[in-house]
């Protein structure tokens, strides 16, 4: 038997993810993608984009309003704050901090939850019961209160803060993964793997995970805005990111006192939070309708 032909080129990734049927993407989704792309660029390159050092004070130019308003200064397009710091520069750094924290937290949480879900489904028995109990515990807890307590006891370092963000929402991934793996294990392809002598790692990694990844990606997009809001809420309360570092929530909290006299200090970060989370939700919704097989056709 001599067959010389090499295998045809691999299929495009979009096809394997079930996105091959995408034709028209609605304008609002495109805008949302653009907002997220901008946010990503800011997250990666904020240091090179800011016109001033985000922490440089200029006490003689305090509370300058943003551009079209009276008394504004073209050198500070989004105005300055109570210490004369450039709001645009601060906004870039704050966006970077908030998104990086939320992204890292979401990814760590997703990986943690998914791994625990796999473990529960694989071992069943006592392991399953412990993990399921943890999931229920986490879901029933008012997490915000727990987070406040942890921050109060452990003190506030960026590691503790990141840890809290990662723990936020892991149980949803664990629950989804456990259910999906349990049903996928009964599928013929998983049983066939077993009969071929494949170990569990191979079956889970190469076969089951790609087959259940869509709902997890959807969950990721649902969870991400929540995590940003969680971060901003804690920072707003002064329990999150500490000065001199800044985040969107912290800027919002700082601006709160000046709402009447210098509204832009709260509105600029508030609007940014709103736009990023809205864009993420729209993209998440879009992905859900295109990745979830039960919603297709």
């Amino acid at each position: 038997m001599t067959i010389a032909a090499a295998p045809a080129p691999s299929r495009p990734l979009t096809h394997r993810l079930g996105l091959g049927g995408l034709r028209r993407v609605p304008a609002v989704v495109l805008i949302a993608f653009a907002v997220l792309a901008l946010a990503l660029v800011v997250t990666l390159f904020a240091q090179f984009m800011m016109p001033y050092d985000y922490d440089a004070m200029n006490l003689r130019a305090r509370l300058t309003p943003p551009l079209p308003w009276e008394g504004s200064n073209p050198a500070h397009p989004l105005g300055t704050d109570k210490l004369g710091r450039d709001v645009l520069s601060r906004l870039l750094i704050a966006t970077q901090t908030s998104i990086a924290l939320a992204l890292l937290g979401t990814i760590i949480g997703a990986v943690l939850g998914t791994v625990l879900g796999f473990l529960a489904a694989h071992f069943r028995g006592i392991v399953d019961e412990v993990i399921s109990a943890l999931v229920d515990f986490q879901a029933a807890m008012p997490y915000f209160i727990i987070a406040l307590a942890v921050l109060a006891f452990m003190g506030n370092s960026i590691v503790v803060f990141l840890f809290l963000m990662a723990i936020y929402g892991w149980e949803k991934y664990a629950r989804i993964t456990r259910g999906l793996v349990l049903s996928a294990r009964e599928e013929g392809y998983a049983r066939a793997q077993h009969a071929l002598g494949a170990g569990p790692l191979r079956t889970y990694g190469i076969h089951i995970l790609p087959n259940i990844v869509s709902p997890l990606i959807v969950q990721l997009t649902v969870n991400f805005p929540d995590t940003i809001l969680f971060e901003t809420s804690l920072s707003f309360l002064g329990l999150g990111v500490r000065p001199p570092l800044t985040s969107l929530g912290q800027m919002l909290g700082d601006g709160r006192d000046y709402l009447v006299t210098a509204w832009w200090l709260a509105v600029v970060p508030g609007l940014t939070i709103f736009l990023v989370t809205l864009a993420m939700s729209i993209v998440g919704d879009f992905l859900r309708t295109h990745l979830d097989p039960s919603l297709q056709d």
Partner: protein
């Protein structure tokens, strides 16, 4: 004749229904004390109605399930210790083709990768060698290179079945257990796939266990037949003998139910009456007696053992005496 696979007193029981307080949960035996031997190079067909335990027997022979009692020897070694190293090595020697072809392939992976996978799992050869073997076996089962990067959903049922066969054959196993390998396919495709299986068997010297409810299919492939009824083997022998002159009333009923296209060859129908009884509560004595047209009082109380009758083994108290009666019915 050397036995490649020997199963003795194989039993697999399942819990049925809920556990009650102070009472053990009711159990039933899907496979009940089965002895079976498969000689190297032969094809043994296991036939019976759905629910008779033939698929369960298949998983026991494969070592995919642990028997509740009894044991399976493959080439002298016990088939057991699910998931252990010895068990995993044995996967190279015993392969399986499942009933649900479409379901037994990963819907997202191109078929080339799926057929190569057994070699990846058992770390056989270098990458290039694996690819070469995969190309060869895909060619051997009649799947052209234009199909190799397709996912299973884009293939027809017959092509999918060829993928499954290629995946089972690429390890060059000594034995393949086929569980209803063609029952989901069109009749025209069935013939092609059966021809492919027989060709592979010839080329590779395969031993096959062929599980099916379809006697027309079994007739084409089997050297020997074991007929199962409610977890027990009621008749076993060479396919020729069993099909030509069935001795057990159940085998007779099964064969009589196969439509014969030639009206001149139509024989007297020996039909089983009623439904098969629930395996939860099997009748005492011979399990077939409530439906058997020839039952005598002894059938109700005494379990018949397999005994040699007319060149095969039959578990029936009245079988030997039946021959004469069949002739009489046919004459009427």
């Amino acid at each position: 004749m050397t036995a490649l696979l020997t199963a003795s007193d194989l039993t697999r029981s399942f819990r049925a229904g809920r556990k009650r307080m102070f009472r053990p949960a009711p159990r039933f035996n899907a496979v009940d004390g089965v002895d079976i031997e498969v000689a190297r190079g032969e094809t043994l067909a296991i036939v019976g109605e759905s629910g008779c335990g033939k698929s369960t027997l298949g998983t026991l022979l494969l070592g995919l399930a642990e028997p509740s009692a009894g044991r399976v020897l493959f080439d002298g070694q016990p088939v057991r210790g699910r998931g252990g190293d010895a068990w995993r090595r044995m996967r190279r020697r015993i392969q399986v083709i499942f009933q649900d072809t479409n379901g037994s392939l990963d819907p997202r992976l191109p078929i080339f990768a799926q057929v190569r996978e057994p070699l990846d799992i058992h770390r056989i050869g270098a990458r290039a060698e694996r690819d070469a073997r995969t190309r060869a076996i895909l060619g051997a089962v009649g799947l052209g290179p234009h199909l190799w990067q397709h996912v299973p959903g884009e293939l027809s049922g017959g092509q999918q079945q060829r993928v499954v066969i290629a995946r089972a054959a690429i390890l060059e196993p000594e034995m393949i257990v086929c569980d209803e390998p063609v029952s989901a396919l069109d009749v025209s495709i069935q013939a092609q796939v059966l021809r492919l299986l027989r060709q592979l068997q010839r080329d590779m010297g395969l031993t096959m266990v062929f599980i099916s409810h379809d006697l027309a299919v079994v007739r084409h492939v089997a050297d020997r037949v074991a007929v199962m009824y409610l977890g027990r083997i009621v008749e076993t022998g060479s396919a020729e003998r069993v099909f030509q002159a069935p001795q057990h009333p159940y085998t007779q009923a099964l064969l009589a139910a196969v439509p014969v296209p030639d009206p001149a060859r139509r024989t007297a129908r020996v039909l089983a009456t009623g439904e098969p009884p629930s395996p939860m509560n099997p009748p005492p004595g011979c399990r077939f007696h409530p439906r058997c047209p020839h039952a005598v009082p002894r059938c109700r109380s005494e379990v018949p053992a397999l005994r040699p009758i007319a060149g095969r083994e039959t578990a029936c108290h009245v079988a030997g005496a039946l021959d004469a009666e069949i002739t009489r019915i046919a004459a009427e």
